[in-house]
Symmetry: none
Subunit: 542 residues, 2 copies
């Protein structure tokens, strides 16, 4: 038997083989409802994962579908892996078939992947119902397939599907599968909580026993159905597992898989175990967001370590203490994972948090107590009126600049506007808006239609201004949120609108508050375009 | 010292006091970036939480801001709690001040809440930097405040802020705070992982030691910064904690808090511990989604137990085995938490949930497979178009009645409507609407002004119809929510409006979906008044 590991040397930048960070975003992660990856997507994600420094990238099931077969061909040809080894996923041979004659096993070899993960049953119910074979034949399938692939010079890991449920049903048989795989040459036997129903204490107990009883090198594959996938992964490590299977951002079937990023961060920062190449942990936030973009899902704002809210503090009470010693208020320095602390400007805002926020935006307000006092007073007054600056950084910056410069920043002045929505007897709607405004000494009257009154106003404003400010052409509204404040509609309720605008290089958020949705939207649009022109470097009117 | 607990008997439906499910959505959960709750929102959420059956609802910090003070006044007057006790949150007395003279402590008593949670420092760094006092005075502050509130007949829980970090720094002092609180009469001392940096194994070890060394009744408050809040909560229970602090959907500062729903589900289903009133666990999914609607956040599709994807299976490979024995492929029966298994690709409600919902509304659909099929098909079609019936019971009931009776339920027919919003040069707005409709054979043309276009439409509709349906006079819109579906505003996004209407005896919710906010609002109003007239016992038109 050749030593598959030396036959396929690790990439030069790989970390030690003593502990495996094994990523299965491209195989198990792609099972997430709503994810549909092209080969190009998979190649891009593989590059990001290799860049992050995982030890293994499970790319798919070659032979099971043409996309995965093509991925392995192109990945070998197009990607020079610096840290990761490519892994092909497949099943043990079919029952009653010689392993040499099983085309599914042949496709695994043809993929050229140096490492192969085989999935096997270790739960008697599944052996009977899904495989329709005997417990003995299942063991032979494991033994034959592992030994054959090892003989062909591949490194083999074995995934024991439904392991923990199988162990609860028949621990003896479950352990026999582990022993069989290990004795046949599998380097790691991975215990899978396929249905995701386990809790950490159970995982620790089972992994500890299986390790003691079999002596096999063990891995863990956890699903998040109890909300404990990260903890379950760490619980297995506590019990001696040295191989963790995860997916980027926890993508996966049902609730998802164990999330690569908090697992890697916990191992490096809490366990003090080096599992990524030097300096790579600081790329966590960037890599997480980049992969979210590729799979076309909005990055979760509340994801541990990498979410935009993960180190955001509502200032108020503790702002002054945070200024003196931030480490009293955060479990790690956010820079360690490439994130940053953010102070939210909220109705609890005090002087300290305004100063911190100003600093974040590039204004040093520390020396000017009177200016800070004025900003605090204006924020309080406006938040009392229903504004929120926590989600509207651009509106806050406009307010701050106004106070710093002592005058409002104006690109145009509005004389009046009007919006009309009409429901016709045939059920269709007509939306029309007219704006009258002044810009650079010129009076502009502009009318436009839209799919709604706000859209019509937005278009009338752009149509009117684009000749004077051509920069507006690159901007577009990317998100729009409406909230009615104070319960009762008939009795002077207030409407708050938050608008996100983008120019292809970035996004900014603005807020408007008024007694009705159209007037509030207008204010947010007004701020959005003023800030966009400021970003674009356009000089405001005198 | 009076026994505060007996002085304030538990609500009749409460579960045993031996184990506390303590919810802090309204206090700590409201710290989540992007959440901004009105008093009406807080009252609605309190009703949902009481309905779910938590033992304690922490409503806010009375005295700290006018909104929380008002909440406690109104909650006592307007809500008849069946399961929960209302809890006021506050701090120990100020350093160097007699507890009787501290206005913050007085406000806690004035709130009238039978239970008070006091936050205290147990970390020497925070005692020094944030409180700017001595370790001894901090202990005195704990002792005095707990004892005083107990003397005033309140039950007291003590939150030890930053406990685990404080314990790492100086375990002796941290335990001294626990002992001091317990000896002064605090019923529970809650160990808080305020910065959220802990992992389950650490939690179990510390809680076990503190329990052994102090003998105090212990609780746990976990934050999700390592992605382990649920596991950390359970880890504390494993070590003997009998009080868990959670928030609905895990809302909270930074990454969030320990999520009430997976914690309750794990305790009931995995630990076999009854922590909710009988039958309430099956309401988990409904309550989770209803609260998401109130805070105006999209329910997470991948949330454990309650997400729409939580029990979704990509069919194919295992479909037939799943049909024979679904329990081999899911960790629990989803019906236990009010969710359903979904076999691809159908995105929405299945027959079982429609039957369940029908039953809830008083329709027994079990016998009529063809009718249920029709309703499922219509719900699917409309949810695909952007409608949501989870938060719009009244619209769903109208749809259901239409299918049961074979024809729409009409009180009036709309010919057309129009709304105009005008911004005048002086900055004021004019809002005017005209509706043309038919009711009981009569053509009605009605015009009204309002504080916004929706309000103007609402008034024009009522003015026109009140002569024919005087019952409309008792109805009023009590809440109004708007969500834009599909990111991009300029490119055919869809607007969904949810309206709550009341008639003094109850409230009902309706939904409208259209390409703009005014048209969507109109639909929701149309349903709202149709349902209101139905409730009032008015015969529909033939």
């Amino acid at each position: 038997m050749t030593d598959a590991h030396t036959a396929h040397p690790s990439p030069t930048g790989a970390v030690s083989d003593d502990f495996h960070v094994f990523d299965t975003t491209l195989r198990d992660g792609a099972q997430r409802e709503g994810i549909n990856l092209t080969v190009a997507d998979k190649l891009t994600i593989a590059r990001h994962l290799d860049d992050f420094g995982v030890g293994f990238i499970e790319g798919g099931w070659p032979g099971a579908n043409p996309r995965d077969t093509e991925f392995f061909q192109r990945a070998r040809a197009e990607i020079e892996f610096r840290h990761a080894q490519l892994v092909a996923f497949g099943a043990t041979r079919k029952a009653g078939v010689r392993v040499e004659d099983d085309p599914q096993v042949a496709a695994l070899l043809e993929s050229g992947a140096p490492v192969i993960t085989l999935v096997a049953k270790s739960h008697l119910g599944h052996v009977e119902l899904a495989l329709r074979t005997t417990p003995e034949e299942n063991l032979a399938m494991v033994r034959d397939t592992v030994a054959y692939l090892r003989d062909q010079g591949r490194r083999v890991f074995l995934d024991c599907e439904h392991f923990f449920d199988g162990y609860a049903l028949d621990p003896g048989y479950a352990k026999q599968v582990v022993r069989t795989a290990s004795e046949a040459g599998a380097d790691v036997v991975v215990l899978c909580d396929t249905n995701g129903g386990m809790l950490p204490a159970q995982i620790t107990a089972v992994v500890r026993t299986v390790l003691a009883d079999t002596g096999a090198r063990l891995g863990i594959h956890a699903q998040d159905d109890t909300g404990c996938a990260v903890a379950n992964t760490l619980a297995a490590v506590d019990a001696g597992a040295t191989h963790v299977q995860c997916t980027a951002n926890g993508y996966g079937e049902r609730v998802g898989n164990s999330n690569l990023f908090p697992v890697a961060a916990a191992l490096e920062l809490k366990y003090g175990r080096r599992v990524l190449p030097e300096g790579k942990l600081a790329e966590t936030t960037r890599i997480s967001h980049a992969i979210a973009e590729v799979v076309n899902l909005t990055p979760s704002t509340h994801q541990p370590y990498v979410g935009v809210s993960a180190f955001a503090h509502k200032a108020g009470l503790h702002a002054s203490a945070i200024k003196v010693d931030p480490d009293l208020y955060q479990h790690i320095d956010p820079a360690l994972v490439g994130n940053t602390m953010r102070m939210l400007v909220s109705d609890m805002a005090g002087r300290a948090s305004i100063e911190l926020k100003g600093k974040e935006l590039g204004f040093d307000l520390g020396g000017d107590r009177e200016l800070v006092g004025r900003v605090v007073a204006r924020v309080k007054e406006r938040e009392l009126a229903g504004y929120t600056y926590e989600a509207a950084d651009a509106s806050f910056e406009l307010l701050l600049r106004e106070e710093v410069q002592g005058k409002p920043l104006r690109y145009f002045d509005v004389e009046s506007w009007r919006a009309i929505v009409e429901d016709r007897p045939d059920g269709t709607h007509a939306n029309e808006a007219t704006v009258k405004l002044w810009a650079k000494g010129e009076r502009i009257v502009s009318t436009a239609e839209g799919n709604g009154p706000v859209n019509a106003l937005d278009r009338a404003l752009r149509v009117g201004l684009e000749r004077i400010y051509p920069q507006l052409a690159t901007m577009e509204l990317v998100d729009y949120k409406v909230r009615i404040l104070e319960g009762a509609l008939g009795t002077g309720s207030i409407t708050r609108v938050l608008v996100s605008t983008g120019d292809g290089r970035g996004e900014w958020s603005t807020v408007g508050v008024a007694e009705n949705v159209i007037a509030a939207s207008w204010q947010a649009l007004d701020d959005a375009y003023a800030y966009g022109l400021l970003r674009a470097g356009v000089e405001p009117q005198a």
